[in-house]
Amino acid sequence: MGITVEQVTKTFRSKAALKSISFEIPDGSIAALIGENGAGKSTLLHILAALQRPDSGKIEIDGSPPSQQQKWLSKIGFVDQEASIMASMSLKRHSGVARSINVKWNEEFLLSALEELSIPTDCPAKVLSGGQRQAAATLLAVAKEPKTLLLDEPLAALDPLMRRTLLGILLAYAYDNKVTVLLSTHLLSDIERTCDHIVLLKHGTVTLSQRTEQIIDCHRWVPNLAENKNFLTQKQETSFFEIGGNLLVCSDNEALFEQMGAKSASFEEIILARMGDLFQPKTAAAEGR
């Protein structure tokens, strides 16, 4: 069942954070939520975690809408961007408290993962480094044994080694238990390596929601020549981006790419192109006007 978001809108005073967004993440997927700063990623994750309410729209996580009920809360794991854990409590205490209030609690997993990452469990959380706190918060969310994990930039403060180890732990857990993961991050290399679904947010709207392979497969670089441009504008099913001397074209038509002498595009190039403000997609219909 995964995560389904339909026409969700959220406005803070007069600023629209999410503008009627819709996307779907299949059950058991590891999805990345990408977008520039202020695109609405954290707002979306907070709404999915029932910490905030949308102004309108419909959300379903694992078949039921976000709620404040114990049954629903026990099915999700959430990690805040600021690694919001209790500063004065040790991780062992966190585990003790969480164990007493959660329906399930996998303490063995938590302690072994913390040990693997060399994070001390006896000292107050406030003495841990930002990265250690972030990793600990992520592991605390996983120890709940949720069916859906919502992670807001869980890797941002981590050093490369810890990032790799934590990702390994996370992925192993997610694959073993068929957990749906939605994580927001700016680390494109990690996304390509680990995520099988991408949701791209731009100025509060979803501009891309596809499987990672599909995204890479459908994008090609094409020389920015007048005949190529004219040709593309006639193709209704094709969108393209003008980037300097090239056109980044998205199409399922392999024959079309061959005809124009297209070259493959890297995941990073595709995402950067689609994130950038300057590179507005041009469809055949728009060019025709």
């Binding site: 907070h46 975690a49 029932a50 910490l51 905030q52 309410r53 404040q68 009920q69 114990q70 809360l73 026990s74 999700i76 794991g77 959430f78 805040d80 600021e82 919001s84 854990i85 209790m86 500063a87 004065s88 409590m89 205490r93 003790g96 408290v97 969480a98 164990r99 007493s100 209030i101 959660n102 329906v103 399930k104 609690w105 996998n106 303490e107 063995e108 997993f109 072994s112 918060a137 605390l140 969310a141 709940k144 044994e145």
Partner: protein, 349 residues
């Protein structure tokens, strides 16, 4: 890696370290308070046993003087020196202990959860917001009740016996009896509500301090009017009716000049009549200001149809007023607490 601890398996295994740091700190503060109390009581008992009663004359405001003779000139209050640590500052601290609990303990600790964003961690565990609110409310109200209890014991043991020799003590109406408990619960409810609204410890503490001050001052000033006061029109004789009423434990609220039928007399007319009466008394040759001359002045005023109207709450109304105001405070507490619960369920973090 796969061992899952079911919640029900843990029943009965929750020990001291399974409670949060804040909960453990609260218990330790209360225990520490109890130890200090015990030491203070031991010290106070020693002081009382070694202090000789002294006698001071006079009439202490509206304090009840049941043990005094009716004649003010011979009235004396047996007075024991309070323990050395009871001074105006410590006395004030005892009065405002429940407010201190609301301002310094409840409001900042709750607001801190929001400011530090740790509430996001708490609210995404399998703990409903209702359960979270209940746990915080029970801890806060419990702390307030314990602290109010301590303050009450201090008041009755140290302040009442030393300054007021008999019951009831109107002077500290809002800080004693059931009303003290009611007010402390109101303040805690307000502290919870304000913390949820402002979400900033310092701002919440300041706001609750302002509200607490307003509540305590209003309660101290307005309490006699919760039930319509009794009034009596009396001859402006000497000793005045107010003295007798106070001696019987009543709380004198105010006096006004009226005619025998109860019509108000203007201040100008009062000044004219009383001035005339004083002149007449002097003309009679009674030079000294004392009971005799005051009696002559009173008779003169009565002859000019000038009387005193006394408003007061009799002593038997003490508990009536306490119950009424406690009920009001409890109703307000329930209202504010329900408002805070509604806010908890709606709040976005």
């Amino acid at each position: 890696m796969t061992a899952t601890v079911e919640r029900r398996e843990l029943n009965g295994k929750l020990g001291w370290w399974h409670y949060s740091f804040r909960q453990r700190r609260l218990v330790l503060i209360v225990l520490l308070g109890a130890v200090i109390e015990t030491l203070w009581f031991a010290f106070a008992g020693f002081e009382l046993n070694h202090t000789l009663p002294v006698f001071v004359g006079g009439f202490a405001g509206s304090a009840p003087l049941a043990k005094c003779a009716a004649n003010a000139a011979t009235c004396a209050i047996p007075f024991k020196a309070p323990p050395p640590f009871i001074n105006p500052i410590t006395e004030l601290v005892i009065y405002v202990l429940p407010a201190i609990c609301a301002v310094a303990l409840v409001a900042p600790s709750l607001a801190k959860e929001f400011e530090s964003k740790s509430i996001r961690f708490t609210w995404t565990q399998a703990l409903t917001r209702n359960q979270w609110f209940l746990s915080r409310a029970v801890a806060s109200f419990g702390a307030a009740l314990v602290i109010t209890g301590i303050a009450q014991i201090e008041l009755y043991r140290w302040i009442f016996p030393h300054y007021f020799q008999s019951w009831p003590a109107w002077g500290m109406f809002a800080f004693s009896g059931t009303l003290a408990v009611g007010i402390s619960l109101v303040l805690v409810a307000v502290a919870i509500f304000v913390a949820l609204t402002l979400k900033r410890p310092v701002a919440a503490a300041i706001a609750v301090a302002v509200v607490s001050g307003a509540v305590l001052i209003s309660a101290s000033i307005l309490y006699p009017f919760a039930i319509s006061p009794k009034t009596v029109i009396s001859s402006p004789g000497f000793p005045p009716f107010g003295y007798t009423a106070a001696a019987q434990g009543s709380n004198l609220i105010g006096t006004a000049f009226v005619t025998k039928s109860g019509s108000k007399v203007s201040p100008a007319q009062v000044a004219l009549i009383s001035g005339q009466c004083v002149k007449d008394t002097i003309a009679l040759g009674t030079q000294n200001i004392g009971p005799q001359s005051q009696s002559i002045v009173s008779q003169c005023m009565e002859s000019h149809n000038l009387y005193f109207e006394y408003s007061y709450q009799p002593s038997y109304r003490y508990w009536e007023l306490q119950w009424v105001l406690t009920a009001v405070a409890l109703a307000f507490t329930v209202l504010v607490t329900l408002g805070a619960l509604y806010l908890t369920r709606r709040i976005q973090v």
